[in-house]
């Protein structure tokens, strides 16, 4: 086994060393060039690899995926738009679209609201760094790890036996003698899976919103206070309008993550028990059912759904960069 490890690390280290050596060699050789060729040469060497990889890895595949979505399962026959018709009319797929819609509404809103509440509350406490660190911590954990953590919380056993799942045990302590098998209970299981997303993303929302609240100019809040605004009114008429853009950015960012959600569903249920969503269905159609046409159509739908959200986010980012 240690020999195996050594070979693997050797491969990885070798790849890095060769990569860096080739770069340095090219830099050394091209650095000696002078005169008219030196600038085009520099541009090619600096920019060429990145552009080539982007073309081969993103641009061409994206165009090809769009093409493939109009073909049948093994791409041998042109089907027109029937893959798309299938997505929107077959009852199984409609359930998936509905689940996805539910996800992108509930999870981001709950995350943003919780993040905002925490951002407002945590600042006044002693040891606030500690609280923030613990709430932000799940952000470091993979969705796979997070799923296993929560699968254990949702573990089900017959109520007559000693419980090992925390949720069931809490229900028993509270006097509910017959808690359900959580993961199998549709539609409840969708919301239980959303809890994982909220658990991971709330720290992100809290940190970003907390920063936005601190960035509100003092003069504005002071003026409002002099005018008699207090408590809820101050929050409603000053804080919220001042951080509105940030709120929308947080909401859309979590929405994007939610739309592309794959790992949680894959690890928790594999898409069974009525929990399937768009991104996991795209993977299943492409790589389990080997239906390239349907998988590609689902990918294109995902792309179209994400487009306005990401577009809004990066334009927002750019505009505020420009105003500073």
């Amino acid at each position: 086994m240690w020999a195996d490890a050594l070979t693997k690390f050797g491969n990885a280290a070798g790849a890095v060393v060769v990569f860096v050596a080739v770069l340095l060699l090219i830099f050394f050789a091209a650095g000696r060039a002078t005169g008219r060729v030196s600038k085009p040469l520099a541009v090619t060497i600096f920019l060429g690899p990145a552009l080539l990889l982007l073309a081969v890895g993103l641009i061409v595949p994206a165009i090809r995926t769009i093409t493939l979505s109009f073909y049948n399962d093994d791409s041998s026959k042109f089907l027109g738009g029937s893959n798309y018709t299938w997505v929107f009319t077959s009852s199984g797929e409609q359930q998936i679209l509905l689940n996805t819609l539910l996800w992108i509404i509930v999870a981001p809103v709950v995350t943003t609201v919780l993040g905002l509440v925490l951002a407002l509350l945590v600042d006044r406490l002693k040891h606030q760094g500690l609280y923030k660190a613990f709430i932000f911590m799940p952000m470091a954990i993979s969705f796979v790890g997070a799923s296993i953590i929560w699968k254990f919380v949702y573990n089900y056993r017959d109520p007559s036996q000693p419980q090992i799942g925390l949720l069931s045990q809490i229900c028993l302590w509270l006097g509910w003698h017959n808690p359900p098998n959580w993961i199998l209970s549709h539609p409840l299981n969708n919301f239980l899976l959303m809890v994982i997303m909220v658990w991971v993303q709330t720290g992100f929302a809290m940190v970003v919103l907390s920063a936005a609240i601190k960035a509100i100019p003092d003069e504005i809040t002071e003026a409002a206070v002099l005018d008699g605004a207090r408590g809820w009114r101050l929050f409603q008429y000053v804080t919220i309008p001042m951080i509105r853009n940030t709120l929308v950015v947080v909401l859309t960012t979590v929405m994007i993550t939610t739309l592309k959600l794959f790992d949680i569903i894959r690890t928790m249920t594999g898409g069974n028990f009525g929990t399937q969503v768009l991104a996991n269905e795209m993977y299943s159609q492409s790589f389990t059912e080997f239906n390239t046409g349907r998988g590609s159509a689902l990918a294109v739908i995902l792309f179209v759904a994400v487009l306005p959200l990401v577009g809004y986010n990066i334009v927002q980012l750019r505009r505020e960069r420009a105003t500073r």
């Binding site: 990885a12 790890g145 907390s210 003092d218």
Partner: protein, 324 residues
């Protein structure tokens, strides 16, 4: 939301230090939300956020028979610590699985380190060319790379996999040969590099473009080639941005499931921890002592990075929040 403000204050927030006071306005808002109920709410949420992870850690340290028979919360009343679960899951596997997680852990490292270094090098080169080598079309190219952030990686999976396994053909003419990379890390490294580039170029360009003009022009006037300027002036000065992106990318690759599952498959030769854990969670869902120990092994590195390098970590994660 300006990224700089968020990053700066988020970094300050995340460090366990109470930021300097003196913001009267912000204080007024905070006071409005101040009450024992508020403090109670924050503490409650923090506990709620931490307990699931604590349950995972406690379970992974309990003997197998205890885990199966009693809830982990009884651990604190009847502590019995063992590391044998970790030994089993790493080296033995148990319940019919050959070898443990060790090969997958090695794969995770062997995938993550090159998949962090490659995009970092290529993106910083591209960013330098776009920021400091003046040539016609640089604005268009920058915008193109910037805009590629909207393409979800699901759009690239199927065609890219076809390219790796079968090459590219137009009609019967081969324009790109089959590379025979199956069963090696190369497809995973290359794919992660491709998918990382849009965000990496964008972020590093923002930083590198703001380096002092005098410094770079002075070096150029002294006769240094672009390659020399890049290596000895730009790279050292861009270290903070490089570090933030490196940490973001490292964690992104370490925690990734989708890219690894698609391009590495599930074999112990190449698959990383996340892939194996997702498999185990599906098929061996009842052996919690093994599953929890495995999950904890996979999250220990992100957690170490999080608690050790909090400042860079938060900055990197916030900057990369729209990636995918």
């Amino acid at each position: 939301m300006s990224e700089e403000t968020v990053e700066a204050s988020a970094a300050a927030d995340a460090a366990p230090v109470v930021p300097a006071g003196g913001q009267a306005g912000a204080k007024a808002v905070r006071r409005a939300f101040s009450s024992p109920i508020a403090s109670f709410l924050v503490i409650l949420l923090t506990v709620l956020w931490t307990v699931p992870t604590l349950g995972l850690l406690a379970t992974s340290l309990r003997p197998e028979s205890d885990v199966a028979q009693t809830g982990w919360w009884t651990f604190f009343a009847h502590p019995g610590i063992t590391l044998s679960n970790y030994h089993d899951v790493l080296f033995n596997g148990g319940f019919g699985v050959q070898n443990g997680l060790m090969p997958y852990l090695i794969n995770s490292l062997a995938i993550t380190v090159p998949a962090t270094i490659f995009p970092l090098a290529l993106a910083s080169m591209a960013a330098y060319a776009l920021a400091w080598v003046r040539f016609r079309g640089s604005d268009v190219i920058f915008f193109l790379i910037f805009a590629l952030q909207v393409v979800p990686l699901q759009m690239a999976l199927v065609p890219l996999l076809q390219l790796y396994s079968g090459g590219a053909h137009i009609g019967s003419a081969t324009i790109f040969p089959s590379l025979g990379l199956g069963g090696t890390y190369a497809p995973v490294w290359i794919s992660h590099t491709m998918f990382a580039l849009p965000l990496a170029v964008f972020l590093l360009h923002n930083f590198i473009a703001q380096l002092p003009r005098d410094l770079i022009e002075a070096a150029r006037v002294d006769g240094a080639s672009h390659f020399r300027v890049f290596r000895s002036v730009v790279l050292p000065l861009a270290t903070p941005a490089l570090a933030s992106f490196a940490i973001f990318q490292f964690l992104w690759v370490w925690n990734d499931l989708l890219v690894a599952l698609t391009f590495a498959g599930g074999t112990p030769e190449v698959a990383p921890l996340t892939v194996r854990l997702a498999q185990l969670s599906g098929s061996f869902g009842d052996h919690w002592e093994i599953l929890t120990a495995g999950a904890f092994i996979s999250i220990i590195i992100p957690l170490a990075v999080f608690f050790g390098l909090q400042r860079y970590f938060v900055r990197g994660l916030l900057a990369g929040s729209v990636k995918g």
